[in-house]
């Protein structure tokens, strides 16, 4: 269907599409309500967030229904925010198939997390504030997904960064948590600055008229901007994605962000915020497609390095959440790799984002359930939990299988499509992704074995989680089982009708790729099960000598950043600031005081010498003159009489003759 026909189809108003912006506003409203009324509401506040996101989910399904019925198409609506000179800033919504899918993902996972946190965060000191931040975050992510212009998107982007900082540092009393929050914020910031410049470049290309996404896309496709500008803009935008989606080299914040509560990890660092970087590339794909091929090649290289490196690091982790964190980094790289394949890869990349959101959130929430039961993150202290925690066990198992790419679960379909796409003309990337898939299966098997099988090695009393926590787990497990079929080529791959670049995508099924990946995954799982059936000390993955050390030390990247970048900047900077404060600022203050004292001294001297001097001089002069004049008083009357007579005669002469 062409855009014109689509627009006509959409011209018959679908109330949900028209009111997509309400979905965005609802969480902001609930955030405000929770903030002001939360503590006084019975239950302490979650009800507003749950209602808002639940309603949002229903409305998002309504929007998606539109695209299910009529296929792709784009609907845009906006209002003028303000105009400055020739620049026009608007606030609006851009709704197409991608938007609809993202809406469902965000509201769905957010609702699960809201419900899950009822149990997980129960009794927390800042329970109400937690829900405020959750709602605020959800609103910001929805804004990013729905925005029709880059500045509006940027607003949502930055608010998400702030909420991430707040939520990671929720238990900021522990120094490690607050440090992790700062690390996350600063690292994503380093990506945000180039992103901003990318936006500026694109706005400049429009002649400083607008930052509207569709208009920029048209301009770039029509050749209205120079090739150099387009390539530069694309790379700058991608830098923002590198930061937000934790790609190499800005991936270092995501593992440490696991210091936040598990629901936060599930929502923000698995399903939604980190996916925003991928979404950005997809939304601005017109720019990437119109740029020099080397841009997409660069993206491809970075994705490959990230995917492989993160998978290797996931293998040696002891903390269950860190395994999942590195896994997330690796899977995000998969999505980026899919997008880097070009227009055909857009559908594949987003399909993987779609499925990954569900099973990664499931895995995180399941890990949270385990952590909640044994009060520890360390897999060394777990084991044999499948008996006391059956629901958690089965849902976690489903999630792990989905992640490993076992058919017919969701992950298989999305990963397979990516691999199929890579197999056409991108051999290096294909091999990298394949190896990564094998590693993925292995480390998930290891995690499952260490956590749920063998004997319990810890000191707590593990028990199953309450319904508020297991409910979302079941729901997400159901999603992991089912949503994959939306992209199955055998079933017509309806997903490709909703999310595509320029042309609806017909999914191709390459049998040998599917077979190869499945076989590799199964083999890896077998190795993992065999290795970890019994407890082995030390852990086999740590017996690989220097390789193990390198992996455990995260390829020395944290050390590199710390010693090479942060300390050399921070220490001299701190010293310089301290010096400035002591010498310059205090110097100015002291100088002002000294000056005031000097002036006071001057004034005093002036007062003494000049003012008092004048007064004293007047008195002294009077005294001196009097001292001289008193000699006239001789006491001799005849002397006085002499003066008198002289005076009289003189006056008489003067008055009569003159």
């Amino acid at each position: 269907m062409t855009a014109a026909e689509t627009s006509e189809a959409l011209a018959t108003p679908n109330w949900f599409v028209d009111h997509t912006w309400v979905i965005v506003l609802l969480p902001f409203v609930s955030a405000a309500l929770t903030l002001f009324l939360g503590k006084r509401t019975p239950g302490k506040g979650p009800v507003y967030g749950i209602l808002a996101v639940g309603t949002g989910l229903v409305m998002s399904l309504g929007v998606l229904l539109r695209f299910v019925q009529h296929g792709g198409g784009t609907y845009e609506g906006s209002i003028d925010w303000f105009r400055v000179g020739g620049f026009h800033l608007e606030a609006g919504q851009l709704v197409d198939g991608l938007t609809a899918v993202m809406l469902v993902v965000v509201t769905g996972v957010s609702l699960c997390v809201h419900v899950y946190s009822l149990g997980y965060m129960h009794g927390d000191a800042r329970y109400t504030w937690f829900y405020v931040a959750l709602s605020l975050f959800t609103g910001a992510m929805l804004n990013v997904v729905v925005a029709n212009n880059l500045f509006q998107l940027l607003v949502g982007w930055e608010v998400m960064g702030f909420c991430s900082y707040v939520l990671i540092g929720h238990w900021w009393e522990e120094h490690e948590n607050s440090s992790s929050a700062i690390k996350a914020f600063i690292t994503t910031r380093i990506g945000d600055v180039p992103f901003l410049f990318g936006i500026f470049a694109l706005v400049f290309a429009t002649g400083f008229e607008t930052s509207n996404i569709l208009e920029i896309g048209e301009l770039v496709e029509g050749g209205g901007a120079s090739r150099a500008l387009v390539a530069t803009a694309a790379l700058l935008l991608f830098a923002g994605s590198i930061g937000k989606s934790a790609q190499f080299p800005l991936h270092v914040w995501l593992p440490d962000a696991m210091a936040g509560p598990t629901p936060v990890s599930a929502l923000i660092h698995a399903a939604t915020m980190v996916a925003a970087g991928v979404y950005l590339v997809g939304r601005m794909f017109a720019v990437f497609a119109a740029a020099d091929p080397f841009v997409l090649q660069t993206v491809s290289v970075i994705a490959g390095i990230t995917a492989f490196g993160a998978a290797t690091m996931a293998v040696v982790q002891d903390d269950v959440k860190r395994v999942l964190a590195y896994s997330t980094i690796s899977q995000l790289a998969y999505m980026v790799a899919g997008l880097s394949l070009g227009p055909e890869g857009v559908t594949a990349g987003f399909f993987h984002l779609f499925t990954h959101a569900f099973f990664k959130a499931l895995l995180f929430l399941g890990a949270g359930s385990v952590i909640h039961a044994v009060h520890s993150n360390s897999m060394r202290e777990m084991g044999g939990l499948r008996r006391p925690m059956p629901v958690t066990f089965w849902t976690f198992l489903i999630g792990s299988a989905a992640l490993a790419g076992i058919p017919p679960l969701a992950g298989f379909w999305s990963k397979d499509e990516l691999l199929a796409g890579a197999s056409h003309g991108h051999p290096v990337l294909f091999v990298t992704l394949l190896v990564t898939a094998v590693l993925t299966a292995f480390y998930m098997a290891r995690a499952v074995m260490l956590t749920f099988f063998g004997e319990y090695r810890g000191h707590g009393h593990p028990h199953e989680a309450p319904v508020s926590m297991t409910g979302p787990l079941v729901a997400l497990a159901g999603a992991s089982l089912s949503v994959g079929f939306l992209g199955a080529p055998q079933l017509g791959a309806p997903f490709g009708q909703w999310v595509f670049f320029e042309q609806p995508h017909e999914a191709a099924f390459v049998p040998w790729v599917a077979a190869l990946s499945t076989a590799g995954a199964l083999a890896a799982i077998a190795v993992g099960v065999a290795l970890y059936r019994r407890v082995r000390e030390p852990d086999p993955v740590l017996r690989l000598g220097p390789v193990s050390t390198l992996l455990v030390r995260k390829y020395l990247m944290d050390d590199l950043y710390w010693k090479g970048l942060i300390r050399p900047i921070r220490d001299p900077l701190a010293a310089a600031v301290y010096w400035t404060n002591q010498t310059v600022l205090d110097g100015i203050v002291n100088g002002a005081a000294t000056l005031a004292k000097a002036v006071a001294g001057l004034v005093h001297a002036f007062d003494l010498r000049v003012v008092d001097g004048a007064v004293n001089a007047a008195a002294n002069t009077a005294g001196f003159t009097g001292g001289l004049l008193r000699y006239i008083q001789s006491g001799n009357v005849q002397r006085y009489a002499a003066f008198l007579f002289t005076g009289v005669i003189v006056l008489a002469v003067i008055f009569t003759r003159v």
Binding site: Q638, R639, A642, F645, T646, I649, V650, A652, V653, T656, R657
Partner: protein, 166 residues
């Protein structure tokens, strides 16, 4: 120069000479006697100017009473005798001032009343006119002067009393 003027000149010269001796005498009693001469000459001048009542009053009061007063004063205060004892240090300045006064006065009147101006024409006696004038026009000053004399009298008595009187 008429006869009047000759007479006047004689009286005037004697009077001025006596006055000069008055202020330069080294004996106080001589000074008092010279004062008598001056006062008498002045009285004579009054007669020449046909102010006979004033002339006799002058002789009566001045020569008759005031000089006696002076003599009593001199007697009671035992003035020292001798040139240096009677004149003070500033004789020179005093002479200068006196000459200045003389010069000034002469300068003042010689223009208004030139040498060949009108002359004094002594008329007949004027006592009747004086009496008339006093008791007609100047009664009040006359009474005031009598009060003045009374006050002076009482004042002199009070001043010269001894201190131990309550």
């Amino acid at each position: 120069m008429t006869a009047h003027e000759w007479a006047f000149a004689v009286l005037a010269l004697v009077g001025v000479a006596a006055a000069l001796r008055l202020v330069t005498a080294s004996n106080v009693v001589h000074a008092a006697l010279y004062l008598v001469v001056v006062l008498s000459m002045v009285g004579g001048v009054y007669l020449l100017l046909s102010a006979e009542f004033v002339a006799w009053v002058q002789i009566l009061i001045y020569v008759g009473a005031i000089v006696i007063l002076f003599l009593f004063g001199l007697m009671l205060t035992k003035a020292p005798i001798g040139r240096e004892a009677l004149d003070n240090q500033s004789r020179g300045v005093a002479a200068l001032v006196a000459l200045a006064v003389l010069a000034g006065l002469v300068y003042l009147f010689q223009e208004a009343f030139p040498w060949d101006g009108p002359r004094i024409d002594p008329s007949g006696g004027s006592a009747a006119a004086v009496g008339e004038s006093i008791f007609a026009r100047f009664v009040l000053p006359f009474e005031a002067v009598s009060f003045l004399l009374l006050a002076a009298l009482i004042g002199a008595i009070v001043l010269s009393r001894k201190d131990d009187v309550a």
